[in-house]
């Protein structure tokens, strides 16, 4: 399978189902790539897979695609591939790949079920930008007949917050859009803050849309709980020490990385929130404290 065919398949997946997580779409494409792959040896297969993941990262430079791809590769190859026949090995890998895909497709539902119990009746929730996982959580809470209000930040430069507000209105949840600069102003009114994540790093911190770090600092100052909801395939083997330690390939969108020469003129799209500001993380592996993330990562990767 050619790489541009792969990229087209990936884009088609995203277009066809806008609700799907980009990592899930990437993994579906990788599975298809694996099915159609023509290499003769296991090593060649792995080489092709790694290159495919790299191509997908270039298309969509989010952390989730990178982490999802790496986890997928580890999951399918973390089994005994001692069969003499290559096609048998490939079948085993495809089977495991489908199992992995099934598990992660269910992860968003699991997270939603875990988190919505933390939303009490009459709560005022603050969230940032547009996250499908947070939407699922709020959906579940609303289905549970809980009454709550949501404040969403506008989240410039792409005004993703307005899209989130529209989706929430469709669910009949009272929602109000606030400016990014108004987070400090609104913090005293809210009871809890829930945000999604693009990636969860080894230290227990999260990488998310720019503005999240600000919100976390404010909530810490006001002693409001700061919850992060993320699926487990977003766990990534990075360990940033501060904002500038996050690699450039995640900070900017893929198109900008390809076209622009001097990245200092560009504004980054994500920031890093350190674990000391996060109260709890809701994942499909359970409700974790930031220090437990490293334990889970060690279990996933070692």
């Amino acid at each position: 399978m050619e790489f541009n065919v792969l990229v087209e398949y990936f884009r088609a997946q995203i277009r066809g189902d806008p609700d799907v997580a980009s990592a899930v779409a990437a993994i579906r494409s990788l599975l298809e790539f694996l099915r159609r792959d023509q290499s003769e040896t296991i090593l060649g297969l792995r080489e092709n897979m790694t290159q495919a993941i790299r191509r997908l990262e270039e298309t969509d430079s989010s952390v989730a695609v990178s982490s999802g791809g790496e986890l997928f590769l580890r999951f399918i190859s973390l089994t005994s591939l001692e069969h003499p026949d290559l096609s048998q090995c490939k079948n085993v890998m495809i089977e495991r790949g489908e199992l992995f895909l099934k598990k992660i497709s269910l992860s968003r539902g699991k997270v939603g079920k875990l988190c919505h119990t933390f939303i009490k009746d009459g709560a005022k929730i603050l969230t940032h930008s547009s996250s499908r996982v947070v939407l699922k959580v709020l959906e579940n809470a609303a289905a549970d007949n809980k009454r709550f209000t949501v404040y969403v930040t506008e989240s410039q430069p792409d005004s993703a917050g307005k899209r989130m507000a529209q989706k929430l209105r469709k669910l009949n949840i009272p929602v109000m859009v606030v400016l990014d600069a108004a987070v400090g102003y609104i913090m005293e009114k809210v009871d809890l803050v829930i945000v999604g994540a693009e990636g969860v790093v080894e230290s227990g911190g999260v990488i998310n849309k720019i503005g999240t770090y600000q919100m976390a600092v404010c909530s810490k100052a006001h002693n409001k709980p700061f919850y992060v909801v993320a699926e487990s395939f977003k766990f990534v083997r990075l360990y940033p020490l501060n904002q500038q330690d996050v690699p450039d390939r995640f900070k900017y969108t893929a198109d900008i990385l390809k076209t622009v020469k001097d990245l200092n003129q560009e504004h980054p799209m994500i920031d890093y929130t350190p674990p000391s500001l996060i109260t709890l993380l809701f994942t499909d592996l359970g409700v974790l404290t930031p220090s437990a993330v490293s334990d889970e990562l060690i279990k996933l990767y070692l």
Binding site: E202, S203, G204, Y239, L241, N242, D245, P275, S276, S291, S294, D295, I298, L302
Partner: protein, 540 residues
């Protein structure tokens, strides 16, 4: 060389440093125990231990335990490493009994024990014994109350408790009982100790631990004596250096060792190592890395199959030690450098404290990889180890600045990262390192500068500590005396009764101040140390 009791003693050939065959035989009747008898005794002891494990409650089992382990010290040849963890109440009863009857000779003690065993056998229904049991029943009663049994602190952290000191002396003496002329000397404390740290030893460098070792016959191998002196005089310092020196010395010891007849190498060699380790800990308290290395060696020795020939076994052990040093120290530092170099970017200003072999190695490797950075070396009295680090880095060509720790808050706004070495990483995530490290981490946190600790996994230990008082090391207080312009003001500090000089060696840093720990397994947050310990235990 047999003495009147029919016991034999080993002789050291000082020309070659080899120890003659070591013929240990000691028992109640004065005749030699054969190999079969020893194995039978071992089986009996195992049975007693199993009974004790099944049934902790009834006092008769306690008495059986006492009966079983009381003959244990009198049969040191059959002591196995498992009995190192002999229950504390036994020591208590033994030493309490010993403390109260110091004048009795060995024969009388033996007769007493036999009488006690007979009486225990006759009263199996939990009837309390008569007067002769009252002394030992008291300490037995306490373990009954505290079920499960409270683990005692090791003797070295109870220096101000006379009972514990007596126990330590007894233990060292017991190691003497086997060989007449030799014993592990008990080093005496020096000078007034500050009250918070009075439970720790404080030795003077001017009184070396070898003063009391008798010249002709000693149970301690000469290279161990040399190593102990090097530790106590500070010639070998630094966690890695001490462990490597220890392992090399053990290789020498194993080389010179020869199994005595009627003994198994796997059991006898471990017993042989115990007085060495006591001696070394008298010279300077063992570090966590040394403790882990010793545990590894003891495990390897006891895993030697009994049908293995001596030369083959010795060769295997030497290879094990070599591979341990290679894997855990040398290769680990390569892996750590690889991860650490990712964290060093061009234009960085890196702060280091003291002299850590690992941190120096990382900086030299990063410089070789053409990273542009400069280093600030922070130093402190009285050791002034930073000068050694400065020398090594400048020799490489790295741009360095040198300050004392009092200038820390002045220099920190310039710093972009702090790299620290560690002496040990505790199970609750605390970092134990040279004194002054926690200060650096604290001030760095206040300035929002990331703190990175570099530590190999063999320095991880199961201990838990939240402060620097409970377990530490006190160095020679005379080191704090400084002579300037011909005048040393603190020279006569001992004459001033209210003055105490405190020369601490280690301190602990809480995990909140440490941003990242770089180990050979990868980069982990400080709180994940127990996970690594768990993973390591599963591997073994």
């Amino acid at each position: 060389m047999a003495d009147s009791d029919g016991r034999q003693v080993d002789g050291v050939n000082h020309a070659t440093g080899k120890i003659y065959r070591l013929k240990l035989f000691f028992n109640n009747e004065g005749k030699e125990l054969t190999k079969e008898e020893k194995q039978r005794l071992r089986k009996e002891k195992k049975q007693h231990k199993k009974n004790k494990k099944d049934d902790k409650g009834p006092p008769e089992k306690e008495k059986e335990k006492e009966k079983a382990s009381v003959p244990a010290p009198s049969k040191p040849a059959t002591q196995s490493p498992a009995h190192k963890a002999a229950p504390a109440p036994v020591h208590a009863s033994e030493s309490a009994a010993a403390a109260e009857k110091p004048a009795k000779s060995k024969a009388e003690l033996r007769a007493e024990r036999r009488a006690r065993q007979d009486s225990e056998r006759t009263s199996k229904h939990g009837k309390k014994e008569g007067g002769q049991q009252s002394a030992s029943s008291k300490p037995k009663a306490t373990p009954n109350e505290l079920q499960p049994v409270v683990k005692r602190l090791p003797e070295h952290v109870q220096v101000d408790d006379p009972a514990a000191l007596k126990k330590l002396a007894k233990k060292l003496e017991r190691q003497q009982v086997r060989q007449i002329h030799s014993h592990v000397p008990l080093r005496s404390d020096y000078g007034y100790k500050v009250s918070l740290f009075s439970h720790l030893h404080q030795y003077s460098r001017k009184s070396p631990p070898t003063l009391q070792i008798s010249i002709p016959a000693t149970v301690i191998h000469p290279s161990i004596v040399r190593l102990g002196l090097q530790y106590s005089q500070g010639i070998i310092a630094g966690s890695n250096a001490r462990s490597v020196a220890l392992l090399h010395t053990f290789k020498q010891v194993i080389q010179d060792y020869s199994t005595p007849p009627n003994e198994e190498l796997s059991r006898d060699l471990v017993n042989k190592l115990s007085p060495y380790i006591s001696f070394l800990s008298q010279c300077r308290p063992l570090s966590a890395s040394m403790g882990n290395a010793i545990k590894y060696i003891k495990k390897e020795i006891s895993n030697i199959p009994s049908q293995c020939k001596e030369e083959e076994a010795k060769g295997k052990l030497q290879a094990c030690i070599d591979s341990y040093i290679n894997e855990k120290i040398i290769l680990a530092s390569e892996a750590i450098s690889k991860y650490a170099i990712e964290k060093i970017s061009d234009g960085d200003v890196i702060l280091v404290y003291g002299c850590s072999s690992l941190v120096n190695h990382i900086l030299c490797k990063a410089f070789e990889k053409q990273r542009k950075f400069r280093v600030i070396v922070v130093d402190s009295r009285p050791r002034l180890e930073g000068r050694e680090a400065l020398r090594r880095l400048v020799k490489k060509g790295i741009r360095c600045t040198y300050v004392l720790i009092s200038a820390l808050s002045y220099i920190l706004p310039e710093v972009s990262k702090v790299f620290l070495g560690a002496h040990a990483l505790l199970a609750n995530g605390y970092v134990m390192s040279r004194v002054g490290t926690s200060q650096i981490a604290l001030v760095a946190k206040a300035y929002n500068v990331p703190v990175l600790v570099c530590c190999e996994t063999y320095k991880f230990c199961e201990r838990v500590q939240t402060d620097s008082f409970v377990s530490n090391e006190l160095d020679d207080p005379d080191d704090l005396i400084v002579t300037r312009n011909g005048k040393s003001h603190l020279e006569n500090w001992q004459t001033v009764k209210s003055l105490g000089l405190l020369n601490l060696v280690y301190d602990v840093t809480p995990p909140d101040f440490v941003d990242l720990v770089i180990t050979d397994l990868g980069m982990i947050p400080c709180t994940s140390v127990p996970v690594v310990l768990r993973v390591k235990n599963v591997d073994q």
